[in-house]
């Protein structure tokens, strides 16, 4: 066993022990700890900002873009906002202990299926150091120990933030080791985290497609796949075209860098003449480059030729693939072939078209006459989300606190035997 493997396993074992003590804590105890964390973040904002300055200076030396540096930057004000987000988590209901189902069996045995914490959650993330706090807060609230592995570009910030959180926990009922950073900056430390099956209950990778693919392929710890969004808007033959235009534009341009933004527009041939000239003009006006099939290109010379790759690409930019289809079923077939199964929208006033689209499209969220941008824990009223699952097991779509739990059957009898 190498030093780094030993270090990672030691941290995971401490997390496991902490999880056992954390699981039975009351909501009151967990909320009190979260408020202590929020206070400590504000009280020690200067230290955090100073450490963050080291990260941003290093990023600048490495020629990182100013947009990325802005995402990395913490100010006292931003730390205050992060602390406020922790306070908001205290207002969310505690999922632990919820009776999911329960009944009395014919023989008198009482069966209850009760929500319990998952145990130890490993979170591997890129970019912004606020994720360190958000993830820790959601884990604590749901009774889980957090093993945090952030980006090396935010290493100094994350180190101080974790120290602040752990310092705040010292005066509370929550064990300090409920929040730990995974030691080491090398890929090796991630590798050992992915192999810590039996110590770590689940890994949630948050970041780009390549990070997520690596974790999915290499981890023996169960993974919840998050985030990749190749979302579609389908404008049906029976669409209200004003709605179709508003939904297309909102889905593409309201915030194009996030996973629930639309990347492909599918238009029924029956409304292409009426819809595409308006849509292409509005998209051009908004600075969007359209990558169209031959039929779309017939409406506007500015449309560039779509390649096979365009149908699978999550642009996360002001680009949009577009295609004319001859039927709803052709739209569904396109989506089934190319979608990442995050979110698809249909715009239609036909009840039967909506029903068919909803039942045939196999994605985490299906929107009828609404923007793809609504697939979001905040919009859904979950209050906070740890990510958006694009897998089918355990959790699908925005994951709030209940999705960070497992269940346990509690069966009570009075000497019952079979």
């Amino acid at each position: 066993m190498t030093d780094i493997e030993r270090d990672v396993r030691e941290v995971a074992e401490r997390a496991r022990d902490a999880a056992a003590d954390l699981a039975p804590l009351t909501r009151a105890a967990k909320d009190a700890a979260l408020l202590a964390v929020a206070d400590a973040l504000v009280a020690r904002a200067d230290e955090i900002v100073k450490a963050n300055a080291e990260d941003t200076a290093k990023a600048r030396e490495n020629g990182t873009s100013e947009a990325m540096i802005d995402r990395l930057t913490l100010t006292a004000e931003r730390v205050g906002a992060i602390a406020d987000a922790v306070r908001e988590v205290t207002e969310l209901p505690d999922p632990v202990g919820e009776v999911v189902r329960g009944n009395v069996l014919p023989n008198g045995l009482e069966v209850r299926q009760v929500r319990v914490p998952l145990g130890v959650i490993g979170i591997i993330y890129e970019g912004r150091p606020n994720v360190t706090v958000d993830a820790a807060a959601l884990c604590l609230k749901s009774g889980n120990a957090a093993l945090l592995r952030g980006s090396s570009s935010a290493y100094s910030s994350n180190t101080v933030i974790t120290d602040v959180i752990r310092g705040a926990l010292e005066g509370t009922e929550v064990p300090v080791d409920a929040v730990q950073m995974v030691p080491g900056l090398s890929r090796d430390s991630v590798k050992h985290l992915m192999r810590a099956r039996g110590l770590v209950d689940v890994l949630i990778p948050r970041g780009g497609a390549s990070l997520i693919q690596t974790v999915v392929n290499e981890s023996t710890v169960p993974v919840i796949e998050t985030g990749t969004g190749n979302c579609h808007v389908y404008v049906d033959e029976a669409a209200d075209l004003d709605r179709a235009l508003a939904i297309t534009m909102n889905s593409k341009v309201q915030r194009c860098s996030v996973c629930n933004t639309a990347e492909t527009l599918l238009v029924h041939a029956g409304v292409a003449d009426a819809f595409l000239p308006r849509a292409l003009a509005a998209l051009k006006e908004a600075g969007v480059t359209v990558h169209g099939d031959e039929r779309v290109r017939g409406y506007d010379d500015a449309v560039v030729a779509a390649t096979e790759e365009d149908w699978t690409t999550e642009y996360l930019s002001l680009d949009l693939a577009a295609r004319v289809v001859d039927s709803l079923d052709e739209a569904v077939a396109h989506i089934r072939a190319y979608s990442s199964s995050h979110t698809e929208a249909i715009v239609t006033d036909s009840q039967s078209a909506a029903r068919r689209f909803v039942s045939r499209v196999d994605s985490a969220a299906v929107m009828v006459n609404a923007s793809t941008r609504f697939t979001d824990g905040g919009e859904f009223g979950f209050g906070a989300e740890i990510g958006i699952s694009t897998q089918k097991l355990h959790a699908r779509g925005p994951m709030g606190l209940p999705e960070m739990t497992s269940t346990k059957y509690v069966v009570t009898g009075e000497g019952h035997v079979r």
Copy 2:
């Protein structure tokens, strides 16, 4: 790509297409198909029994034990019972379409979280050919395509059974490719099944610990771990000793070859003198070999010395490890250290002891004053089970039809944008 890899992927792709057509089918269509399958099994029982005779003859040549051969053997009567089990599945409610939660957001968007099939379920199993039918029936009822990989010892039986099922589906709305055998008998074909991520949605291994470990370690397809049961009975200081005796005996001897049987008995020191002599006598009477720690051995010379290995062993035989503990917390610590997290029972009349045990023990099922043998889909009233999950993600404990589904958010608006 080797031939076998190509064959496995082709079968998985056909399953994927079949799953798309199967998902939107009504309960009536699925139940009609299941009844056709049940009828066909009975009508073609002769063919099945004949193929089965080839398997049992081969098993005998290979020196397989008569007990194993009995498990493998199909008679016309047994085929009839298998068909009846399929008919019983038609009486279970269809989980697909159930609205798990739903509400209207402040902006008027209607959000519903609806159960949908998982898609393609791969089942890797050992032993008895009835699993071929049971698994196929549960997959079809829950709207999933089944990829079946049985034991090579039942190859002829499974081939004919699959042919009978597929033949029956031909006259129904369920696509024939909703039930397929994974081609090939080599380990390679299992390997390619485990790597068919994106085509297969979940793998459920059913069988011994080594099969399950292989699948867990090597699969990139998400796995639901089933079955390994190192279950504990803890007799508390405040136990009713008659109940404790009945629960100990039932948990160990009622059917010792199954996963929910008890493998370790923990006895509080405060009742050891009163309980252990009676328990050891009854266990001896029932033919159980007790592997005890030093304190247990003090009560009976017939108790053999327990080694560290005994605490982790799933005997599945008339063996029982036993230990005296000085407190409930010591019992909990033992269970946390050695259990496979399947089922643990406490026998106690103390409300606070029961509460502490239930909240501290992290297993799929916790029994209070009841036998461990009750952790079972049939006993819980699920009607049928595809296995008992010992993992925390997606499903934990007995898995019925709802556990064979995922969910989808359906969001309906009237032109809503952010």
